[in-house]
Symmetry: D2
Subunit: 285 residues, 4 copies
């Protein structure tokens, strides 16, 4: 893969931002491969994603980082910088259902998700064999009665030891504490098995059946302390009929969940997502 650098930028909207930022790259002889921007006129915010070619390095990474930091300070930009060969270290947290786990790991294997997976972690031992199949270390952190904080601490330690950048909750059936979420702020992606904000909380397929909806869906979002309230990255739905029982919905839903979660993780790993309040800017591929 070509060496590239990707900037995700946000700032207050005003005249001349694009000109100033693009002048920086042009002035340093970088080729801009992609540049997407969005001005939210309601909130007066400006969002930008710029990908530049680092192939024929005119500058070292360090020099680029330092130079852009100066620009950002002057222009009051909030930004992050990502180099294409810094691979994200992603941990997958699971309970007992395997469909999202299989889909993520198969995509990683096929080279369709640019990351490493140093570990899979379960609060149950059931899915160890799946991690084994893919030669990925599996950690089991069961929850003992009344000792859920201890379990969470154990989980956190493992994530930190392995320098995890992104935590994917692939049908991990535990509610995380506020303190856990803050330590991985904007770096925890959850899949909810409903089309949020419909059917927040538990048992969404049964409730969808009872309500008689004609489509069911799934939602991938960043975890925040408020359950199922975090910024949405991706959603999808499928049409159902009256014939589908709650169990059928669960089965149909599995296929929606796996593709929604995998797409959301891909968007994050490709640095196409900027979070702003309860919303996300997801630049299309």
């Amino acid at each position: 893969m070509a060496k590239q650098a990707c900037f995700l930028i946000q700032t207050e909207d005003r005249k001349g931002i694009l000109a100033e930022i693009s002048a920086f790259f042009a002035g340093n002889a970088f080729n801009v491969l992609e540049c997407k921007q969005y001005s939210d006129m309601r909130e007066n915010r400006y969002y930008m994603r710029v990908v530049i070619d680092m192939e024929k390095d005119c500058m070292t990474r360090r020099a680029l980082s330092d130079a852009f930091a100066e620009v950002a300070a002057r222009m009051n930009l909030k930004y992050s910088l990502h180099f294409s060969d810094d691979r994200c270290r992603m941990a997958i947290l699971v309970s007992k259902t395997s469909h999202c786990l299989y889909d993520l790991l198969a995509h990683v294997r096929e080279g369709d998700l640019p990351c490493e997976v140093p570990l899979v972690l379960g609060n149950h031992p059931e899915l160890e064999h799946v991690a084994d199949m893919f030669n990925i270390p599996f950690f089991c952190c069961p929850v003992e009665e009344g000792r859920s904080l201890e379990q969470e601490k154990a989980v956190l330690e493992i994530l930190q030891q392995h320098k995890i950048d992104l935590v994917v909750l692939a049908r991990y059936m535990r509610i995380l504490s506020e303190s856990f979420i803050e330590q991985y702020q904007n770096r925890i992606i959850n899949i909810h098995h409903a089309f949020l904000p419909a059917f927040q909380g538990g048992n969404p397929y049964m409730r969808a059946w009872q309500r008689g909806v004609k489509m069911i869906g799934a939602t991938a979002h960043y975890a925040t302390p408020e359950l199922d309230e975090g910024p949405i990255i991706e959603q999808d739905v499928e049409r159902i009929t009256h014939e589908a029982s709650p169990d059928d919905l669960k089965q149909i839903g599995k296929d929606i969940e796996r593709r929604v979660l995998t797409r959301a993780v891909r968007a994050h790993l490709e640095h196409r997502v900027i979070i702003t309040g309860r919303r996300t800017i997801v630049f299309a591929r």
Copy 2:
């Protein structure tokens, strides 16, 4: 159009229903053109839609009605019977937005909705010109401050005078009273501009924008006394991006609303819908 009779049937599920009912039609030398059924094993209910050919009448309608009534009494069937040349009389109720009204009337004109439209009724005068275009009488029933029951009474009278069978709320921005709804039970179709049960109530597009959803939708349902809680007939969604402002959502939503409402009305007019509690059985075309 060929003359046909359509039966919508529901009963307790048990062995032999299909055999018994189909024996009735075979015994009377009717050709069964379509027969769909669904057994809801959770609730132990049986639902059926049968269309038979009346072309070479072996029986008069009256004879058929009487004969089947006997079968139904014996088998404890709840049913309705519809002859293809009895055209439904549909009233369209509107306020100020015209997109659903245009779409319904254009479909009627093109012969794609089997009904008559004796009238359009608005609580505002704005859409009279649309009714005029299609040569359909327009009635304006404005709501005077604090006199909404009087207005509803006036509406009811007009509907009754015109022997209306089906009331379509095509973005009619009034909440109907329980007594109104009961008089047209299972015969009022409403379009809600959100993917229910998400964003029940007012201002759904603004709330969808604030929540940052990645798809918006619309829902057509039978009106019940509980607002936006009636049995759903049809839903659809469209993918949106972060760039869509609340006003853009409104515009995109209009196209979803019009197709969802038109499809729901068509399903009702083609006698493909059975209501059961909060759910509908919608037999596909």
Copy 3:
């Protein structure tokens, strides 16, 4: 509506284009409301759409036009410039089926298609009443046996007299001559009732039925001398079942055709389409 100017630009891809163009707007104190670009690395082409605010005119239109023309000459840009209050004059050509015509005219009426419709033109008289409903002049140009060039000449004259900018073929069942198409190059939008390149040519619904496809579609494209081969603007599909007869496909297809054509026309009218060879760049809203 706010006064805006929109530039559609294409040129050879190279370093610094974005910086140079955005410097022009910043240097002239314009606020850039939207800016989208795309670098096609395969073909080494660069495409851009820029919308600027003209509210507090720092420059007259004329001055802006002249100044940008200089930039374009220096940078070797191919471009078009559109002011938001120059409304496009759109002619709709029809034969006997009305569904696309209704949908276009209803959208224009509702303010959802920014254009004027000076005329509807049919090669049959059938749809005059629809034009009448919307108070739009209708011209009938029937084709006499063996005199199709004469008819086309009559059509052209009418279009020219009315200074038509965009010709929409809303199920106009005539093949246009090469010379006609050249006079309205890139300004004729056609709707084909199939998912191109499947089922090019006549009778697509019957052929779709015979082939047993599980989805049918429609395609809006710019007309070119090669039938059904022009650059595609928009496509959509709908799922069908084995139960749908060829006539059902036709009816289902009408709803796909109307929304695909309306969306394509909207994209054109909002200056979101750049044509390049057989492909289009369609900047999302």
Copy 4:
């Protein structure tokens, strides 16, 4: 799983079929769990799928088979009979790309595809590790220069030795001979990486890019001697933009291919497909 028997029936359409068949099941005290039918009036054919409960066997399987065979002979029915605990033996044929293989095997593991997979067979050795992960025997049948018939013979022998019922071509990049296809008539499912009949033959993603389509798709169909012409079981599409390069289309396409193939295989395994000429009847779940 409950013990059930499923009949797939087709015959000439005529009066009384439904009554006669349902009388058979009622007369033998079977509970009909599902019954779907379809009358193709164009071709005067009748299609039916009946699922009955075998839990409290009133008859042995043998007795049921024999009794129904008599009915079928009398009524001139073409049919197949499937018992829910006879599990289909499915072979998966692959070349070098693994995405469909992973998806099928993960679904089998999760219990979402009712079959056994006695073997995976490749014409290249690359995917042996995937079969290994799932503990499934892998057979490699490479094609030597000019000896493709010998290879096919080797493949056939392996399939026969393992009593394979269904052959799934999961991106198996070989054209099968007519004789091979006849031996597994209506029992070979292929995935084509385009929305047939668009882009039949090789290199569909590149051709889709060149044509500038706005959606790409995939098609699962039964293999017939004519390449990409067999009866279609399932299709799906995804919307793409001008930004997607041919390589991006390939990647997006992988996700469409995997879900289309898995759905088609599921429909076949659940005995929901009847083949009739170039078309399929696929009874919905």
